[in-house]
Amino acid sequence: MSAAPPENRAAVIPRDVDNTLQTIERPPLVLGKQSFHAVTEAVSDVVERKTPKGWLLLTAIAGFMLMILGGSLTDLVGVGIGEWGLNHPVGWAWDITGFVFWIGIGHAGTLISAILFLFRQKWRTSINRAAEAMTLFAVAAALIYPGFHVGRIWFAYWMLPIPNQMQMWPNFKSPLLWDVFAVSTYGTVSLLFWFLGLVPDLATLRDRSTTKLRKIIYGTLALGWRGSHRHWLTYEKAYLILAGLSTPLVLSVHTIVSFDFAVSILPGWHTTIFPPYFVAGAVFSGFAMVVTLMILVRKAYGLEHLITMRHLENMNKIILATGSLVGYAYGMEFFMAWYSGNIYERFAFINRAFGPYSWAYWTMMTCNVFSPQFFWFRKIRTSIPAMFILSIAVNIGMWFERFVIIATSLHRDFLPSSWGYFRPQLVDFTTFIGTFGLFLTLFLLFIRFLPGIAISEVKGVMPQANPHPEDAHEKEAEAAHG
């Protein structure tokens, strides 16, 4: 994957342009003097070039991890979910931690594709496609957990309101059922939104196809798109509407995930701060994952002129903002526990920070609250090695956040006689590694076979895309561009 791409990388990034500096003129989103055709080339080349050896190696590793998932789940279904370390009193452990972790990662994709679109943040165009793909694959990885947590997987359809042999309907008053609706809606809408965005770019790949097989496959997927403006008119309106629908949807998904906890009466879970706190955490972890992936993708495929330092810096700013929100929420939880005067509530939080799981709590605090503070410094915000390390730290921290919330609240409840300590088993580890295998395999297939950058959207934000070049405002942009 690290094989140096031949043409499109050379000399396209002017050394003297630093597009992270804020100026009155709008800084360019695409670096170097680029034509529309050069953008098509740069993005399509990634899909059309000979399979890089590095890609094969990574896919082999990811495929191996995916097989670990298959093995773990087969074993799990054969033996039963007791094989995971969860037991009374910790009835939810790594499974729900993993579920919330992956769902949260997905949220950045929707935030980039929908919320930044509504805010007219044009810089999103270079990263939205890959981030949306990441959302889909993260949701797929997330669904493994509750799907298999039901134990008898062949009865998983009891979660849906379809007639079953018990002649009963699901309990519509349960947040767990709301979750079924929220996550399945989220997955479906994200898929539709992603595919709608892909169609014009699939048409580009179709029109560039040199082999019959590619022509048939991309031609089928492109649905016969011919760039008609009558179509663009409906298409853009539908895209805007889907962005408008996805925005409250993404907020609702993690809100409802947080209801799984907040609607219970367990100290440490039963708190009204959970919905906004979970959403902020989800965006935080998701952006960290996007940064990690984009650093690798832009480097491996020489796309530094499209996914520029400014894109990465903007994401780091969002990580800083959401990380600080999450830190505030942690502090507020403690304040509430103290201010409530409820001894169980107080105990839950003192136990969380200083009890048997304090190692997990302080790992979370270090990774989530302290590490993003480095992003106050522009030098660190624009340093690839620093942001790579910090983005991984954030993801470790966010996994621990979910673990801390779940395990520490459950392991010591009202009756000391039922206290316990959760220890993960081998299958817990292999399932978790396996979900990474699923995620990485899907992501690697995506960057190999589909346009990883929204070609038509990037062209739309280039200065020469404006049909009124005589417009003075655009002249400025053009000046900044050259």
């Binding site: 519509f172 089928t220 760039g227 663009w232 609702s252 959207e457 049909p467």
Partner: protein
């Protein structure tokens, strides 16, 4: 969409011509060409661009897309489905006492009402788009233009269809060439 019966009645369009297609190199040229065609009274013409050229619908004299109404229909259907489903399943068909909560209450129904509203609205937006665009349609006659593969890359095309009442092959070709179009070509149906 014009009445298909009126397509070749004028006699000025040979039956083997579907449209005249011309190619432009910049969005600005395309914009001016569309304005010109609109002002001359053409209706059945289209632009083909690698990305949406903003404002082109004004230059072409197009009405806004009706897609929001389809989405609204989807949303109302979703909301109604969610309310009826939760009420009928939970309170009529199999009432089930859970912690003494009422069999049906609006508050606990809101999450699923919201989700199904969004889901069916999204179906409306997605499938409505393809229905309004008459896609999938793997082949369209305009694709026969020899350079049409660049319509998804870096060129901007205008196609004037023979079914337009003002269509006249030689006049349309001359107009497009005068507007700066290259490779002005007639395509067969």
């Amino acid at each position: 969409m014009a009445d298909p019966k009126g397509t070749t009645k004028t006699g000025r369009a040979p039956a083997n011509v579907y449209a005249v297609v011309g190619m432009f190199t910049s969005p600005a040229d395309l914009y001016h060409a569309c304005e010109h065609l609109r002002d001359q009274g053409f209706r059945d013409f289209d632009a083909h661009t690698p990305f949406p050229v903003h404002g082109l619908e004004r230059a072409m004299g197009l009405k806004p897309s009706p897609i929001p109404w389809i989405v609204l229909g989807g949303g109302i259907t979703g909301l109604a489905t969610a309310v009826l489903m939760q009420w009928w399943m939970g309170a009529i068909d199999y009432p089930w006492n859970i912690s003494g909560k009422p069999p049906f209450a609006l508050q606990s129904s809101i999450p699923i009402m919201f989700e199904l509203t969004v889901l069916l609205s999204a179906f409306g937006a997605f499938f409505g788009t393809w229905a309004l665009c008459r896609l999938p349609k793997p082949f369209d006659p305009v694709m026969q233009h020899p350079s049409f593969y660049r319509a998804s890359d870096d060129r901007f095309f205008v196609s004037v269809e023979a079914k337009d009442p003002k269509f006249d092959v030689s006049k349309v070709k001359a107009t497009l060439e005068k507007l700066g179009a290259q490779e002005v070509t007639e395509v067969s149906p």
